[in-house]
Symmetry: C2
Amino acid sequence: MKIGILGTGMVGTTIGSKLIKLNHEVKLGSRAADNPKAIEWVKQAGANASQGTFTDAAAFGEIIFNCTKGDASLAALQQAGAANLAGKILLDVANPLDFSRGMPPTLIPEFANTTSLGEEIQKAFPETKVVKTLNTVNCNLMVDASLVAGEHDLFICGNDKAAKERVIQMLQQDFNWTSIIDLGDITNARATEMILPLWVRLYGYLQTPNFNLKVVS
Amino acid sequence: MKIGILGTGMVGTTIGSKLIKLNHEVKLGSRAADNPKAIEWVKQAGANASQGTFTDAAAFGEIIFNCTKGDASLAALQQAGAANLAGKILLDVANPLDFSRGMPPTLIPEFANTTSLGEEIQKAFPETKVVKTLNTVNCNLMVDASLVAGEHDLFICGNDKAAKERVIQMLQQDFNWTSIIDLGDITNARATEMILPLWVRLYGYLQTPNFNLKVVS
């Protein structure tokens, strides 16, 4: 499948490399084409890898991953273009982290509590099927749930049932997720984004990003 | 031990009844003495149970539990009186839930993201040893961790190390908690309060309040 990835940081390149290994075609997008990180990634990732602008990546992909930083996501998606995103699944893995007040980060107030990044993206791109997931785990765990032994849970939400089913299938088959909790519509994104403040503290406590939560009942 | 409990709702009476069973003396406090719920509770709880105002309960207790609703906590504590709380452990189990926007609740903005109820209580009562814990689980689970089978975690935070150690001892011996994660100082309260939006959704998903999270690494 052709997949567009917006964002050339750790998250974007980690997901991109995994998808290439699974024989997908991946185009990595950034603000400007020929971003040095994107060129370097293409060199390492091989024949099915390419790079370009956000617009190029969105036009290319049948499914799009939003791997941009939360404070840049809406601008990146505007650059990608509503027409290039219309009718497609946008897998939103970003978090609205605010590092401007120091560490550990807080959430960007405009994307927290009474709304969320996932919700604001869905509002801005009503013809796109936004599916929020993977944002509660580190990028290495995103693409291989078995990195953390034992049972642990991934959350998913979004307004389009068929889109969520398609994403769940991908998470199971490609990324080894066995336990996925569908919280409902995209308004539930605020709940999963709001556990990030706990996540960053547990990262400090455990001294490893390879952890996750399990719901025990 | 003499324990003061602020709040006569489900949380306050559940904790109070458990502490009475453990042979502690408990005074339940509310805005006005002779609150019907408090009188009823005393009748059922027996000889070691009593009730009065917030001031009475705070003056009585060697340790104080804040079991008021988050939007009323600071006012209740002001009524309890800084002098009655000074030097004591205040076990803050409250959450700043905001039901004014409908269900599921959001958090009260003045107590979320860049601060928290726990932090604001500590700021308002600098001579009190505020320990935030138990706020991420239902009240029945608060007083008996074994209600949920298997391993699961409780978070604790606060500025006073000895106070936290004392509370951890109580949580282990009296409430059967076996896994307690000390996140650090009281600023970590914002992280545990911010998982409430996920908690309320998981309550809907699981259709039982008897669940908890386990950190898996």
